[in-house]
């Protein structure tokens, strides 16, 4: 049963298949329960002459069988769903990143080359897309029913979602986590276009690449005053930091991933790099999440390590 719901992503078909199987299994059992109930009710109604000899008040075999049979069925369903679940959670290495910042009550989208949209998400057909999402304020949830994907968007951390669009067209996008007054109006459209159209559409933008925008912000916010190699202040040079292993002042080592960079900018005192004084000011209320993303893009572009952003572009151009 797909009812009227289009199957527009790589997940739609396997998820529907599992849903239908569940429908058959659970629907069958439920129907069975109803049928048995009616049958017994009619047969053993008061006044009927059904045979009531030899009734039992307990039977170990029966109890065990209806304990074990459902349990085994459950294990089967579980295995099937876990299989799909890991698929949902493991994006292929080359997936094209798109950054999303949710805000009461809109979706802000930023593509690899810096092109932005609001409340629409344009994606190419047949290309794995990975959404990297965060929220400026409260929790939202990014939901595309026709793709069968959904992921909460949480302030203070990055969550991700991936899919391959398999059908051209426009599909509704909903915010499905309650986020305040206009929660129901926080909707949008996902536009699936062909790869060529997508490339054309990207190029039509005059926006600077995110790393370049980030570089400007880096100067504008005064980061360069400390972090530029030539500055007089003792602060780590940021070249190559993304993806590297950083030792913190308390001896813990962490990998400098997206969340690390985010927190290093927004809540710097949470992770002080070993050997430095915790003098970096917090930019909590001064930089919004979109700018943090741009700064991160810049920092990533500094590194010798290949950043996923670049991989994404190559993938999309292929």
């Amino acid at each position: 049963m797909s009812l009227s719901l289009p199957e527009a992503s790589n997940f739609a078909v396997p998820i529907d298949r599992m849903f239908n199987a569940m429908l058959v299994l659970c629907g069958g059992v439920t129907l069975g329960v109803f049928v048995v109930m009616f049958w017994f009710c009619i047969k053993y109604r008061r006044g009927s002459d059904a045979n009531r000899e030899g009734r039992h008040s307990t039977k170990m075999g029966l109890e065990l069988s209806w304990m074990l049979i459902p349990f085994l069925l459950f294990v089967g369903i579980f295995a099937w769903s876990i299989n799909l679940w890991t698929l949902l959670r493991r994006p292929p290495a080359g997936a094209m990143p798109v950054y999303i910042v949710a805000k009461q009550w809109m979706w802000k989208v930023q593509h690899v080359n810096g092109r932005r949209e609001i409340d629409t998400l344009t994606v190419p057909l047949g290309v794995p897309v990975r959404l990297i999402m965060t929220s400026q304020d409260v929790i939202h949830s990014f939901y595309i029913p026709d793709f069968r994907v959904k992921q909460d968007v949480v302030p203070g951390r990055y969550t991700a979602l991936w899919f391959v669009a398999t059908r051209l067209g426009n599909f509704p996008l909903f915010c499905s986590e309650y986020c305040g007054t206009d929660h129901a109006a926080m909707t949008g459209t996902v536009k699936v276009v062909s790869r060529e159209d997508y490339q054309k559409w990207l190029k039509a933008s005059t926006a600077l690449p995110p790393a370049e925008q980030g570089r400007q912000l880096f100067v504008q916010f005064g980061c360069s005053g400390c972090h530029d190699p030539g500055s007089g202040i003792r602060a780590p040079v940021l070249r190559g930091v993304y993806g590297s292993t950083v030792t913190l002042a308390d001896g813990v080592t962490v990998t400098a991933d997206d969340r690390y960079l985010h927190d290093a900018i927004v809540l710097p005192a949470t992770q002080v790099v070993a050997g430095y004084a915790p003098i970096m000011p917090t930019y909590q209320s001064r930089i919004d999440e979109e700018d943090v993303l741009l700064l991160m893009a810049y920092i990533k572009s500094l590194g010798p390590q290949a950043s996923p952003a670049q991989t994404g572009v190559t993938h999309a151009q292929r």
């Binding site: 009812l3 719901l5 998820i15 599992m18 849903f19 569940m22 659970c26 629907g27 059992v29 439920t30 329960v33 048995v36 109930m37 017994f40 009710c41 053993y44 109604r45 009734r55 008040s57 307990t58 039977k59 029966l62 109890e63 209806w66 304990m67 459902p70 459950f74 369903i77 579980f78 099937w80 769903s81 299989n83 679940w85 890991t86 949902l88 959670r89 009461q104 304020d137 409260v138 929790i139 029913p145 026709d146 069968r148 994907v149 959904k150 949480v154 302030p155 203070g156 951390r157 909903f174 499905s176 986590e177 309650y178 986020c179 305040g180 007054t181 929660h183 129901a184 949470t270 909590q284």
Partner: protein
Amino acid sequence: MNAAVTSADAESMGSGYLVEGGRTLWSWLSTRDHKRIGILYAVAITTFFFMGGVAATLIRLNLIYPDGRMLSAETYNKTFTFHGVVMVWFFLIPSIPATLGNFLLPLMIGARDMAFPRLNLFSWYLYMVGGLFTVAALLLGGVDTGWTFYTPYSTMFSNSNVILVVVGVFVVGFSSILTGLNLIVTTHMMRAPGMHWYRLPLFVWAMYATSVVMMLATPVLAMTLSLIGLERLAGVGIFDPALGGDPILFQHFFWFYSHPAVYIMILPAMGVVSELICNGVHRKIFGYKFMAWSMLSIAFIGFLVWGHHMFVAGQSMYAGIVFSILSFVVAVPSAIKVFNWLTTLHKGTIDFHAPMIYALGFIGLFTLGGMTGLFLAAVALDVNLTDTYFVVAHFHYIMVGGSVMAYLGGIHYWWPKVTGRMYSETIARIAAVLMFVGFNLTFFPQYILGYEGMPRRYHQYLPQFQDLNILSSIGACVLAISYLMPLFYLGHSLFRGEAAGPNPWQATGLEWTTSSPPPEHNFHETPVVTHGPYEYCD
């Protein structure tokens, strides 16, 4: 039926505990009699149910049109929040334990009262104070956080009366903790001679399992809500990402309480239904020990599955896997119960009195609701279904189709015991059937809506969802009528009903051995128990 009315009962007819403790309002408000406290609760809970029901009516009216033209977005959000908060904490959680449990548990185990009668009355006052706070919040403009109070919305963004409601729920939480404590101690300490554990009616087992959950889960809610309040007042920041806190931590705490809380709502219903089925079928329950232990295992495993509400909230993939399998495990004892009830019907002598109709309705709707719980527990499917109307339908099937049906069934079944009077069976049966029909009409379309992707807590929606929403709203009207009916015929029976006699249903169980209504201290002499609870002999 009232051929059995003996002279002793004629004497206590229209008297019993109802007048023995005094007739004044104060004699009720200061009573320590568990039966009177049960009635105090019943009155208060019914009031809250209809308040929640009015909110539900507004929700359904608003959703007739896709543009939600009746209520503003803000009002709509406040309406479903009020609906959820009232229905969960002020109606369903106390419904069976505090009314029927209070009234019946001492009777069923042959005790003169609860172990701590004063504490019992105190719990009722706590409940009322909590209710006052919540209603005050409504009058002062309402709260728009949803019943789940997710942070940081509830702490930093919502400018509504969150604190008042949080205090209200905190207070009512202590009321339910104290009720649970009282029920546990009473069951342990006050059983009549010969009433050993495996002679307890299943209703008592259900109360016991419920009370354990109440006592161990509710304090977590209380503290979590305190933190919300403190965060709003003092900017404590434990759940606020802007201050370094973690909003997901709040969800862990909230669901650590609220998942077990759903078993606070269903276990008592399972207990009631077991009693109704045995009486309707006139035979012993099938698999008594399995029935008792399955309830305890539901209560226990129920503490381990809270993460299934957070599959897409940002917890790790592995957490999702663990919580998924545990959610399936908790369904196994539910399966045991359904199949045992069905088998109890086998070779019985079935009467279709109104309580029995409610009980059968419960089995069907609980199964349907539970089955859809399995869809949600399968993580990969939950990704698509979570926070849609599929979830709304799932929990209304269990809570309204299941627990509320059982509660009403129980009210009908023990009505003659509580009041000493019979109600009109014919009308009661019509209402029960109407309820079943109206219920399915209201909530079945919501499964389809949810599958098609209509998110919950939406004040307006895409036009393609309108047909099913209209169907659902029509169903809600039918449902409303069927809920209003008992108010009238039960009310009528209070004054005009025939005398019931001690045991109108030819039931077993100690509560039926004393007069209806029972005397102030329950039994004229302490009963001595010599056999199990369901010794029907026809």
